[in-house]
Each structure stands twice: as structure tokens, then as C-alpha cells.
């Protein structure tokens, strides 16, 4: 009896629902071209490599104008050091924060995964010419930012195997909000 009722319900609902399938097949090569999201475990990192030394040169020409030479003074987002209002090595920090509140936050101090640095530089930096850097250059700039944060030696070279292994201090501070599905997290 119950199965008969179910069958009836299914038939009725199937009859009431027109099939709408306007989507077109998406080619694998199109996915490959546009799928640039990198995951904390390193999934979707491209081949290539970049050194802290090469990254330092790129940083000076491509990044320092907005992020300052040491990555702390802005005006754009703070890349280096701890987060918060005060910093012993920057006596003008309070003034800078009142003009640029984004300096309260620090990539090196807060971001839980190093892969996010590669992901963001590749998709969005430099701000005036996003996606203009090669994958090798993105590895290099990522390495230099990690070096400025004391997380990589001056002689280090990054690639798709070593980048996900860099341990970020923000990792231990990460807390997932209630309701965010965490089970599949790395």
C-alpha cells in the first residue's frame, strides 16, 4: 500500500515537472583553462618553480609600490608579520591604520594555508595587471613573501610539492564557524 502511494506520488510529480536542460557540455580544455582554484592540500597547483631570490627581484618591481618594501606598511593589505594594532618595529603603525584599516590584518600572521598565497597572486596580482605573471614567477613571489615572514630560508625554492608543506602560523588559530561542513577539510 505504501509503495503504491509512493509510486503514485512519483508519477504525479514527474508528470508535473518539465525537463529543462539548457546547459551545454563543457569541454575539458575549457575547464583546464579557467579552473585556477588551488586547494590547501596542493590540488591544482601547476608545474614550475620559483626561488626566494627571484621573488625578491619581482617583489621590488611588481609589489613594493602598494605593499611597501617590507610588506608591512601598505597602503595595500599587510603581507608580513603579526596582525593587530601595534607593532614594536613600526612606530607609525597607529597613524597608518587609521588611514588604511587593512593594515590590521596580515597575510603571514593570519592565513592558514600557504597555497592561498599562490592562488591569489596568480589570479589577481599585480592589481593593475592581473594574470600577467608566469607560474614560475608566482611561485617566486609566493616564496619571497613567505621568506619575509620568516617561514622560508633565503635559499629556498618552491614548487607544487613544497608549497603545501609550508606551515603557516595562522593554521593553529583557524576555527570553523558552526554549520560550515568541515569533514572533508585537510
Amino acid at each position: 500500500m505504501r509503495s503504491l502511494w509512493l509510486l503514485l506520488a512519483l508519477t504525479t510529480s514527474a508528470a508535473a515537472q518539465p525537463v529543462i536542460d539548457f546547459g551545454q557540455p563543457l569541454a575539458a580544455q575549457t575547464i583546464q583553462r579557467y579552473a585556477i582554484s588551488v586547494y590547501p592540500d596542493g590540488r591544482n597547483l601547476p608545474p614550475g618553480q620559483g626561488s626566494v631570490i627571484a621573488g625578491g627581484e619581482l617583489y621590488a618591481s611588481q609589489c613594493a609600490a602598494c605593499h611597501s618594501a617590507n610588506g608591512k606598511q601598505g597602503p595595500a593589505a599587510r603581507l608580513v608579520g603579526s596582525d593587530g594594532f601595534f607593532s614594536l618595529d613600526d612606530p607609525l603603525r597607529i597613524l597608518r591604520i587609521s588611514e588604511y584599516p587593512l593594515l590590521l590584518l596580515s597575510v603571514g600572521g593570519q592565513w592558514p594555508y600557504a597555497t592561498s598565497i599562490f592562488d591569489y597572486i596568480r589570479r589577481a596580482m599585480p592589481h593593475h595587471a592581473p594574470k600577467s605573471l608566469s607560474d614560475d614567477q608566482v611561485y617566486a613571489v609566493s616564496a619571497y613573501i613567505l621568506h619575509l615572514n620568516g617561514l622560508l630560508d633565503a635559499s629556498a625554492v618552491l614548487d607544487q610539492d613544497s608549497l603545501p608543506k609550508v606551515e603557516m602560523p595562522g593554521r593553529t588559530r583557524l576555527r570553523w564557524a558552526q554549520g560550515a561542513p568541515e569533514s572533508a577539510a585537510p
Binding site: 551545454q24 563543457l26 575549457t30 586547494y39 602598494c66 590590521l104 572533508a184 577539510a185
Partner: protein, 427 residues
Amino acid sequence: MNKSALRFVAGNGLLDRRAFLRSGYGLSLAAAIGLTPAGRVLAQGEPPMPTWMTSLGGADTEYGSPSAHERQVLRQRQPSTPKTAGFSIWHSPLQHQRGIITPSGLHYAVHHNGIPAIDPERHQLLLHGLVERPLQFDLERLMRYPMVSRIQFLECAGNTAANAISPTARNADCQELFGEVSGSEWTGVPLSYLLREAGVKAEARWVICEGADGGSHSRSLPLAKLLDDAIIAFYQNGERLRPSQGYPLRLFVPGWEGNVSVKWLHRLEVSDSPAFSKDESGLYTRILSDGDILAFGFPMEVKSVITHPSGLQQLPELKGFYEVSGLAWSGLGRISKVEVSADNGRTWAPAQLHAPVLDKALTRFSIPWQWTGAATTLLSRATDELGNTQPSRSEWRSRYAAHSFNHYNAIQAWRVSSSGEVENVYA
């Protein structure tokens, strides 16, 4: 009816919220509190009739604009954003608006990579990842799906950040302090239709949503929410989206921080885990009081603000009748109650909620106020249908580190001086 018959419902002149709604009562109330017609006695006869009453009016235009007398009602760029191109925050002039719909051109906006100039003929939406059938959609096909319309608010996670972190209350107007919230009717296709067509795999939990802007703005969102009530919006307030709001299409995620309603939506990657994009790693997290970093806290909590009167306004008369009016909203449901205090929180009275009171929408409230003329502080406190209510500023701050500024929803206080100036203060 005399003045002593006024029905005060809380300290310092708050009147019954229904005072003007009762038939016949409004006029007698007006008489009781001394409202008189604005007519002026002229010294020497009548002035000439206004020229607009004695001449043919001007021509209309193809697309209407506000009156030239309202040209000061504009969005305002937040001065503290970096001067580098592309990252900009535009605040809506809430203190000049009534009702619950923000005109599309006045809707707040935050852009991380400028506004892309998208050719709608060439724009594609890609849907791939953990799906049976990776799909792409052009605009013409997308807009043939059945659409839904909903009136809902959008609020930036950083709205009212100045009151969260500034050690002293910034003397600023409602627009600067609260202008990163707006309300619109959004129309589009439920995202669930497209996800079901592609066939989401069993292990899928998240969707990485990405825009077609130069920086490929990207956020990871729980699949369950997107299946529940997210839409791909094409229309705002009856017309196609403005470029500033994501033309030709945006994701709209009801009740959640504005940053996740990805504008210029281009790509949806179904996944088992989040990608930890730039914004979910840093800028849109919250630093808790113990230093931990809270990620993926999406819903905007219950909040309200009195827009009339509000910061930097000058009350025209130094006592007498004013309608206190404002906006309340919650990312978790409907507003069930807004209370107003005219004595800095000693006593409270329920405000009138004006229909429609909708799920995850701006709700207009008001209460009549007979001001004695003494300096005082006006507060509003909203509660939603789940029983969530706004905390005090000190309660809110006790939960977070001193430099954490997102999702600030504490009770707002406007100080009204005896000279009629309205100022932002910490209650």
C-alpha cells in the same frame, strides 16, 4: 483633547507606536502636541503665483533621473580604502531614504578589482568539478529558466566597522557608519536548477564561486545553502543589474555577508572542501577574543539603525514632535521586534514594524517621539524571529579581539544635544 492625554509608552517622550494609525486620532494628536499648519502670514498681500503653475512643463526623458533638487543624494566613497585603483567601497545614503527598497543606483558596492566591462554576448557561466555533467551556459539560455523574485537585503561584512574598532566614536553620518547595507528586489534563476541538471556527486560539500572580474574574485560556499535559496540574479528592482552590481549576472546568497554574492559570476566549481581563497583566509574572517580566527561565519546577524534622526543631522526645532524611523534586518530570518529608547536605554518601547516584514529583508520601523528638548540618547534594538537580539557594544567587543571589525551588529546610539545636533556615540 489636551496635552496631558498623550499616551507615553517609555521615558523621555516616546509615544504609542500606533498613535497615528488609529482612525481620527492622528489629527487630534497633532493638535494636542501643538502641530500647526505651516502657513505664513504675509506682510503685503499674496506673492505672485509660482512660474511652474503658469507655464508649460518641460519634456520628459527616456530614462528618468532624480530631481535636480535631490542631486546631493549620492553614494559616497569610503576615504580609508587604499588609493590603489580598483578596490573601492561605496556607501548608500540611508539617511535620505524611506521604505525598504534602495534605488539601484544608490545600492552600496564594494569592488576588489574594479568593474569589468563584460560583453553579455560572450559571457559564459561554467559549472564543473564534482558533477556528473560539466556544463556551460550562455546568457540567452540561462534566462530561459523559470525565475523567482525576492525582496532581500545585502550587507557587507565590514559595515559599521568604524564603531567596532575606533577607540572613540567617530563623528560621522549614517551613510558613512551604516551605508554598506541596502535592500532590493532580486530576480533570477535558483542555482539548484543548474546544480541538479549537472548532477552533483555524493561527496560534494562546497562550491567555489568565481567572478569574471580581473582579479577573479572567489569564495567557497557550502553546497547546502546554494541548493536551499541562492539564485543567479539578472534583475535588480525590475531592471537588468547595473555593472556595479554584477551585470550581466551575479550570485545572490540571501542573508549572508555581501562578499559571497559574487558579482559577474563566471565559474562554479563543485568540491569536497573549501579553497581558502584570499578573502576567506583573511579579510572576511573574525579574530576572536582568544586570538583564534573564525572562518566561514556567513550569516549577517540581527541589526538595526535609526536613520531619522541620525549622525551629523541638525534637528530643525529644539523640542516637539519627531518621528523616529529606521531600518532593521537579520540574515537569519524575519524581524519580529524593534524596541526604541529615548533615554539611553533606561526604558524601551516597541516600534511599529511597517509591512511588508519579509525574510532576510530590510524592515522599516518607526515610533512617534515628543522631544522635551533636553539632551538625550536614542537607541534601537532589533530581535529576529529566532529570538536573536542585538548585543550592547561592550558585549560585542568582549567576543572579539580589539582589531576585529567584521559582522559588527551592536546597538547603535545617537546622541541628540539640546541644540539639536545628532552625533554618533558609544552608549
